[in-house]
Amino acid sequence: MKTVKLSVLVSALFLLFGLNANAQDANTILKKMDDVMYSAKDMTAKVEIVLIDKSGKEKTREALISQKGTKERIFRFTAPASQAGIAVLSLPKDVMYLYMPAFGKERRISSSVKSQGFAGTDFTYDDMESKPYTEKYTPKLLPAEKDVYVLELKPLSPRSQYSKLILKVNKSEFYPTYMEYYDKGNHKLKESTYHFVRIGKYWNAQEIEMKNLKKNHITKMIMSDVKYDQGLTDNDFTVRKLKE
């Protein structure tokens, strides 16, 4: 009887340590991915957004993006003409402002907008956010594939629109290569693929393709003219700059 108890205890300890080691590995991988994605101090780029509907018809939007760290960003549309000049300023603690030239003033937007599609794309405001994944999700390691680690991410916030994400991370460079998004009913909603290139000392998501499986609609986000570490300051991410 004593032997049985001991073996149960040992098994439990192994399981506990095993799980802990597993979680730690998953956390480490996710942390490394965050480091790869968000290690630059700041970044500016041109973004081309291509919307492809189920019949293959394409529409293009263009924007300029400026970002400092993971919490400050200005996204300014430059085309098409109907959207040119519209800009969104994202600041820490979910503070967001929308600037529409026709109104001549900024408008504070509520954080509920985060679950909505961003400007007709398949990305939500939440998807566009550059908050580190380690701050938004709890990772769990799944069996790895040939070149990638596979993680299951569960949102920390109950208000997330997703029940989980399945993430594939490049084993050698730790950038994401593929992601699946599951809705609250645990149905696969969207999937995204990433094409990273090295620019200087940083890996850049040169092209992200997001496919909405329900709508059979695709959004491609293509970055160009990417510049890192230009010394942007907090003053570049203010309502004053948003309106310039």
């Binding site: 040119a84 979910d94 503070v95 679950s115 007709g120």
Partner: protein, 459 residues
């Protein structure tokens, strides 16, 4: 006519030349704008045309090495319907096809002048104050543009100097100075009389003719200028501002009426003398997000500089009286009164959006006794990657006398469908259904239920 052709040729040439320059150089003069047609038809038979407007908006912008910006917006419009009275009018294309040219804005903004924290903007500009949607009681620097009575909240630009000093990224102080007084402009077309006050005459008298004279403030700093300060801040997740404006009422007040007999049946002619009283306006607004819900509030306290008394001279009706016969009525006391707006909005995950506002005091109302209570609601849904936007619930209600609601109310329902036919072509179909009783703007619109169609091409 020759001038019009020159203007049109100039605008078209400018569009092509600046587009070519833009393609070559990002810092070149940028030209944007839109062409919009706005047609409205009354629903009641015989379905009169209520509005005809074809607008070319041309916006020019040039940034100068990040140190300054030039911006202008010009409207070239064909507005209104031909008003032909005499055969001679048939020779006049301005009557056959009325048009106008308007400089909405034209300013230069200099960033970091004298100090890196100071921005200066000089020229005709829109100075938009307030956080509420469309209905902003603190937004009084620019005159209201009531031309299109359904475009609430539209203002004209003012020729002004604006200084913005940024203490930090969260706190700033804005000072504005408008040297010349510009009154609000009134509605046009069939809506022309909607903002006119009902004139109450002594019993037995009937208004037969009406004339008026408007006194504008003398054009000097003391009388015609408007000046204001606004302190803006952000703390604990809340945007807020405090403002003060030394301005005028944009709509004229009746100061002196002279009644003269018109006929022997009790008909009278009225001559009114109108003026624009000085007013001090203290404002406050805030905006925040709580649990995903956007919340805002905005209030303006108006303090008239003088008590406003309307004198009605009826001496001509009493020729035997040894002394002038005058009737004085206090129209606006020298007491503060407050207009305010409280609002909330929420964006749902299914791409729908809800916005609700409560207003105390509409844009054309003044004096504590004349302020009414409004609720305005809008729920809109977006489909097909935002190409189609439908607002099935859009409208509101007003009660002008809570003691007698059934005779003093109005409801309005304004459902809207907007479709982006291409990236730059927007089609918009809106219905305006108004119902009500009593002396309020929306009740007066009850005769103008209409269908509105707009097409906008942006370039």
């Amino acid at each position: 006519m020759k001038n019009r052709n020159i203007i049109i040729i100039f605008l078209i040439a400018m569009i092509f030349s600046t587009k070519a320059m833009e393609a070559q150089n990002e810092n070149a003069l940028k030209l944007r704008g839109y062409l919009q047609t706005d047609q409205r038809m009354l629903l009641k038979s015989p379905n009169d045309w209520a509005w005809n407007e074809n607008r070319l908006s041309v916006k020019l912008e040039k940034k100068m090495k990040g140190k300054a910006k030039f911006y202008s917006e010009v409207w070239l419009r064909n507005i209104g319907l031909p008003n032909i009275v005499h055969s001679s009018d048939l020779y006049n294309k301005n009557i056959l096809s009325p048009w106008n040219l308007e400089i909405r804005e034209a300013y230069v903004e200099i960033y970091g002048l004298f100090s890196k924290n100071l921005d200066v903007k000089i020229g005709r500009q829109r100075i938009a104050w307030g956080t509420a949607d469309k209905f902003n009681p603190t937004d009084n620097v620019n005159p209201y543009d009531f031309e299109d009575i359904l475009d609430f909240g539209r203002h004209r630009g003012s020729d002004a100097v604006t200084l913005n000093y940024y203490f930090s990224s969260d706190y700033s102080l804005q000072s504005v100075f408008v040297p010349f007084f510009q009154p609000d402009n009134l509605p046009v077309g069939m809506f022309a009389n909607l903002l006119n006050m009902n004139m109450e005459l002594p019993q037995g008298l009937v208004l037969k003719s009406f004339t008026d004279q408007v006194s504008t403030p003398r054009y000097n700093i003391g009388e015609s200028s408007t000046a204001g300060l606004k302190f803006k801040g952000f703390a604990r997740g809340v945007d807020f501002s405090f403002s003060y404006l030394w301005g005028h009422d944009g709509l004229p007040f009746d100061a002196y009426n002279t009644l003269v007999p018109f006929d022997t049946l009790g008909g009278v002619s009225v001559n009114a003398q109108l003026y624009f009283p000085r007013t001090h306006i203290f404002g406050f607004d805030f905006a925040t997000s709580l649990g995903g819900v956007g919340l805002w509030g905005e209030s303006a306290v108006f303090l008239p500089e003088h008590k406003h008394v309307m004198t009605t001279d009826v001496s001509a009706l009493y020729p035997a009286s040894p002394v002038p016969v005058m009737i004085d009525s206090v129209m606006l006391d020298k007491k503060p009164y407050a207009k305010f707006v409280l609002g909330a909005d929420y964006s749902f995950a299914n791409n729908s959006y809800l916005n609700i506002q409560y207003l105390h005091g509409f844009v054309n109302e003044s004096g504590s006794k004349n302020l009414n209570d409004y609720v305005v609601l809008r729920y809109e849904m977006k489909f097909f990657e935002d190409k189609l936007k439908v607002a099935p619930i859009s409208g509101g209600a007003v009660v002008t006398d809570w003691k007698n609601v059934k005779n003093n109310y109005a409801i309005f329902y304004v459902p809207q469908i907007t479709y982006m036919a291409t990236d730059n072509v927007e089609l918009d179909l809106t219905a305006g259904i108004f119902s009500g009783k009593g002396d309020n703007l929306f009740a007066k619109l009850a005769d103008y239920n209409m269908l509105m169609f707009k097409m906008k091409y942006s370039f």
